[in-house]
């Protein structure tokens, strides 16, 4: 799948990128983690974000989601400047992320974890009584269950998250992010440490998600998988975007090879 197929191409809003990153820099006490990063992410596409360890992939995701404010530059979401907004505001505007290290509420059930993603859909107040309250809780639980059903997790809805296999827990984290109905989903190494079978399942889920018009940014070390899943790939090295291109050609670039093999970039 090297070219964008027709079905997905229709979903890509070719006119305006959903996320626009312009000149973003991040310095940690003199160490430049991001240098003049420019990147567009379109709705309905999977953008692979690759690069050697320490290239700044997670820092870029952190800067977009407001987890750390960038030192310079701007981030726009659908034309709106979201630079420096707090993480929860960015999330409410429609960017959700997962984490490199799984962060589930371990002692809560799978359903409770996913319900958390639906937090923004609740409108009742704590003092709202009676039917509205009961109905809304039921509706949101049903929505969460429906999502779990779609992701093949329905049977585990009432199981405590802690005891489940790693692959399943990764899936739950993505389910929780999807429950928020985001416009953009930023996945930080969603298949790290997974068996190839589980990784492929997650891959399918990612493609499906992009198919619904969501912009997906995928940080991934597995070159085969990221080439297969992405519509475009951006390569980061030493905090700079050294190449953005289609998955077929990006690996042929000299600088990309140099970055990965460890030679001197020219």
């Amino acid at each position: 799948m090297t070219a964008i197929d027709e079905g997905t191409a229709a979903a890509v809003d070719a006119v305006m990128p959903l996320i626009e990153v312009r000149g973003v820099e991040k310095h940690f006490q003199g160490v430049a983690a991001l240098v003049d990063v420019n990147l567009d992410v379109f709705g309905g596409e999977v953008l692979g974000l690759v690069g050697p360890n320490g290239a700044g992939k997670t820092t870029l995701v952190n800067a977009i989601t407001g987890y750390i404010p960038p030192t310079a530059g701007t981030v726009h979401l659908a034309g709106r400047d979201i630079t420096g907004l707090s993480m929860d505001r960015v999330a409410r505007l429609g960017i959700t992320r997962t984490f490199q290290h799984l962060r589930l509420l371990e002692q809560s059930s799978v359903l409770e974890n996913v319900l958390l993603g639906r937090h923004q859909r609740f409108t009742v107040r704590p003092w709202t009584m009676g039917r509205t309250r009961v109905r809304q809780e039921r509706e949101q639980r049903e929505a969460a269950r429906a999502l779990l059903d779609e992701l093949g997790l329905a049977a585990l809805a009432d199981t405590v998250a802690a005891g489940l296999p790693y692959g399943v827990r990764r899936r739950i984290e993505i389910a929780r992010a999807l429950a928020a109905e985001p416009r953009a989903l930023l996945l930080d190494e969603p298949t790290a440490g997974m068996t190839p079978g589980d990784a492929n399942d997650i891959g399918e889920l990612i493609v499906q998600t992009a198919g619904t018009g969501v912009a997906v940014v995928l940080i991934e070390h597995n070159v085969g998988l990221v080439t297969k899943l992405s519509h475009r790939i951006a390569v980061l090295d030493w905090g700079r975007v050294i190449k953005v291109g289609d998955p077929g050609s990006v690996w042929d670039d000299e600088r990309v090879r140099a970055a990965y093999i460890g030679g001197v970039a020219t």
Binding site: Y67, D88, T96, F99, E112, G117, P126, W127
Partner: protein, 305 residues
Amino acid sequence: MLDWFQLHRFIIDTALITTLITMSIFIAFNAGVMSLGSVGFMAVGGYTTAILTTKHGWPVPFGIVSGIVVGGVLAFLFGLAVLRLSGIYLALGTFALAQATIIFIQAVDFTNGVHGVIRIPRRVTTVASLGGLLVLVVVLQLIRKSHYGRALRTVRLDNVVALGLGINARRYQMFAFVLSGMVASFAGALEAHESTVISPSQYNFTLLTIALTYAMVGGVEHWAGPLVSAGLLITFREWTRSSGTDKQNLAFGILLVVVLLVIPGGLADKRIKQVRTWLWRTLSTPFRRGPEPHAAVPEPDSSLV
């Protein structure tokens, strides 16, 4: 029954007030705010109603409500300052502000300084404290069963996950801190009308330590935890009163260490839950019919969570 109640009225009233302070600490802990400020808010509640009822002739109920309001407003202002911190720094911040409040009360004239306020009308009945506690429990249960409860829990367990899902963690912590301050002020106001005499020195570290012990034994997971733990430990305290303060404090110290070592989560710890499940299964076995428990699929009852 009525005789017994009359005899123990003071103990029961004091116990209810201590329980309220424990709940106030729990409310903050539940949202991940390590607050040590409850005793300060208690002083604010007590002094507000004491001054209003003795010097300005306000009726007692208005005095108490004013105490709660002033405590809440002060908690909000303090929250603006300290909720930027987290962990041990937050705990120290709340403690410092609470101590500053008590020192302020000592230093100014309109509170009578170190002499305290005397002849506070004694109008508070057990019913008022009990009613207040019941209302609080209902409110806490309503919060617990709503998406607010889930959000508060997440803010406590993993702040970053909460933020990443659009939950305004600071606002939730502020809500909990203000509620905690209001409950502590309520307890302080009740206490003022119970003992009729208050002075700055009574809002001391010992009181904080006792309430903190109750709260920690109760755990942060469920409001029933601090309620049960306060109930049990106050009874224990009254029971052993004749043995002297030294032995009592020693027993409490040992208890706290044991709890922290064996069940760090207090009564809400998962080990307690395991024991409870095991007990329930063992005790109910003779009465159970049909297939073995593991063969039956338990009915998911998420509404109870």
